[in-house]
């Protein structure tokens, strides 16, 4: 079926004119219409725009133009501004916000000829690990609709896993691409901080946020990342470095590659998950890689560090939502303070308010040194330990999450338990490192993810390792029942 083909296969068929982009777009739009109601993964469908963009891609193809993504349909996480299309960030605050411009990621993909089918549901302002904090309701996991798909890019993950698009975009501040990719059995890549532009990507925690891809294979993710990445003068922390040809580098042999097993990532891991991770590492060893155990003693401090740094940055970033220039405004404000407080109180959901207040608290007079500066110091310790580890190994490996997908409603009332879902993913964000999650098996019929973390700008090596693993295994080809 068309929706099972890789991006490379689709591009070949489009190039050979055996398939038109309009045909392909109609195929995915039909799937969205039929399958999305049970998932709630897509919150805005842009059928008309998609068909127009597909017709345009077909015209470019007819004129002889070729491109790895020309005419390929995607769904964007609703955190990326899309000119003329509602960009809600999963929040009541932006329920009525029509972005007046395209995010750089959107613009780059658009000019490569990608067709946007719609916008994906997400945790409100990307704050959540289960996609239950969305104003538009929870997303359901296609592997079991009583389970969460992970978050915050839960809609993107579920849409990719259910084959509602060829691929989806996401963002990762503390694991928001890798964790949902793991829980839905797909491949997610979170690039190095600064690799992909943050311009037009609604800010959560600016020193951690990074855009990436959720796809069905490392090879697909590589094709997309090559187009998304690159310097953008409009993002002050964008890195001015050439973008490697990721797809061309996928075939680098694993012989001699040193993979470090993160000892701290196996503490408290469920035994069946641990076994799958060890099995996956066995595959790497069979392919010629060498594995050794590595310890990062301060890594367990990632969660407390993150839950100071991220809320602090969020409280600052979200101060822009004031009910004046855009977004929700309360009815009948009695004065300006009432307008601010009620617009924000009513426009933001419970988790967002909790994070804003946590951030306000750790930044407030008398607590700034004890919490914020302290967390920044521990952040350096963790980063230094990663750097030291990469002097001994090429990549680090471990699980992406402590457990497979959990039931909807199981953790939403206990924020601290929810935060622990990101225990294995946060470290890479604190240190700005790239990471990949790739499916490596099932526990009770639910997908488990293997996480690989690399040094800064090692995306090619990470995607290459994941690709070699996917050539040797078929976990990434498993499909949730009912979405074949």
């Amino acid at each position: 079926m068309l929706h099972d083909l890789s991006i490379g296969e689709l591009a070949d068929r489009l190039a050979a004119r055996e398939l038109s982009s309009v045909e392909l777009t109609r195929h995915f739009l039909e799937r969205i219409e039929r399958l999305n109601p049970a998932l709630n993964a897509v919150i805005t469908v842009t059928a008309e725009g998609a068909l127009a963009a597909a017709a345009q891609a077909d015209a470019r193809l007819a004129a002889g133009e070729r491109g790895p993504l020309l005419g390929i349909p995607l769904i964007h996480k609703d955190i990326f501004c899309t000119d003329g299309v509602r960009t809600s960030c999963g929040s009541r605050m932006l329920d009525n916000f029509v972005a007046p411009y395209d995010a750089t990621v959107v613009a780059k993909l658009k000019s490569a000829g990608v067709v946007m089918l719609g916008k994906a549901n997400m945790d409100e302002f990307a704050m959540g690990s289960s996609n239950e904090t969305s104003f538009y309701g929870p997303v359901r996991n296609p592997w079991d609709t009583t389970k969460v798909p992970g978050g915050s890019s839960g809609g993107s993950a579920a849409a990719s896993a259910a084959r509602l698009a060829a691929f989806t975009t996401g963002t990762d501040t503390g694991g928001s691409i890798r964790q949902p990719a793991a829980l839905t059995g797909i491949t997610g890549v979170k690039p190095t901080y600064g690799r992909v532009s943050r311009y037009g990507m609604i800010a959560f925690a600016s020193s951690l946020d990074q855009a990436g891809v959720l796809a069905r294979s490392a090879a697909d993710a590589a094709a997309v990342l090559k187009v998304m990445a690159g310097f953008d003068p409009r993002d002050s922390t964008s890195v001015d470095a050439p973008v490697p040809d990721y797809p061309a580098l996928l075939d680098a042999p694993l012989k001699g590659l040193k993979i470090g097993l993160l000892r701290e990532f196996f503490d408290g891991l469920e035994p069946r998950n641990a076994k799958l991770i060890h099995d996956a590492l066995g595959v790497f060893t069979a392919l010629g890689a060498e594995t050794l155990e590595v310890s990062l003693p301060h890594l367990p401090m990632s969660v407390p560090t993150y839950y100071v740094v991220a809320p602090a940055e969020c409280s600052s970033n979200l101060s822009r939502f004031d009910g004046v220039r855009y977004g929700y405004r309360c009815d009948h404000p009695k004065d300006l303070t009432d307008l601010y407080e009620r617009s924000r109180g009513e426009g933001f959901g419970a988790e967002v308010k909790r994070r804003i207040m946590t951030g306000t608290y750790v930044l407030s007079a008398g607590y700034f040194d004890a919490y914020y500066l302290k967390a920044q110091r521990v952040r350096r310790l963790i980063t230094d330990e990663f750097r030291a580890a990469f002097e001994k190994v090429d990549l680090l490996a471990g699980p992406t999450t402590p457990t497979p997908a959990f039931p909807i409603g199981a953790k939403i009332d206990d924020p601290v338990t929810m935060y622990l879902n990101d225990i294995y993913t946060i470290g890479a964000n604190l240190a700005g490192l790239p990471g990949v999650s790739a499916p490596c098996g099932l526990v009770d019929g639910l997908p488990v993810g293997l996480q690989l973390i690399g040094p800064h700008f090692a995306e090619a090596k990470l995607l290459g390792a994941a690709h070699q693993y996917q050539l040797a295994t078929d976990w990434h080809t498993l499909r949730p029942r009912g979405y074949e």
Partner: protein, 96 residues
Amino acid sequence: MSLTRQDVEKIAHLARLSITDREMPVYVSSLSSIVEVVNELSRVDTANVEPMAHPLVGQHLRLRPDLVTDSDQHEKFQRNAPQVQAGLYLVPRVIE
């Protein structure tokens, strides 16, 4: 350490967030448990460790020439505003 209702009321006001009476007990207890988690940081010895604000070493904020590079699109941008008049954002009267 746990936070009191008064603490949370003060934080909410600093953050310009109205919190209803019904929501308040939930925030008092959940913010207290979060503070408990982040208090673990005090166990880490960070003597002589510089705070880290940014993940990439050697990255400096760039300066660009101070030139107008965009056109005036205020009408487009103000289409998202709750209340606008003559190109101005309207808010409740501030000065009596």
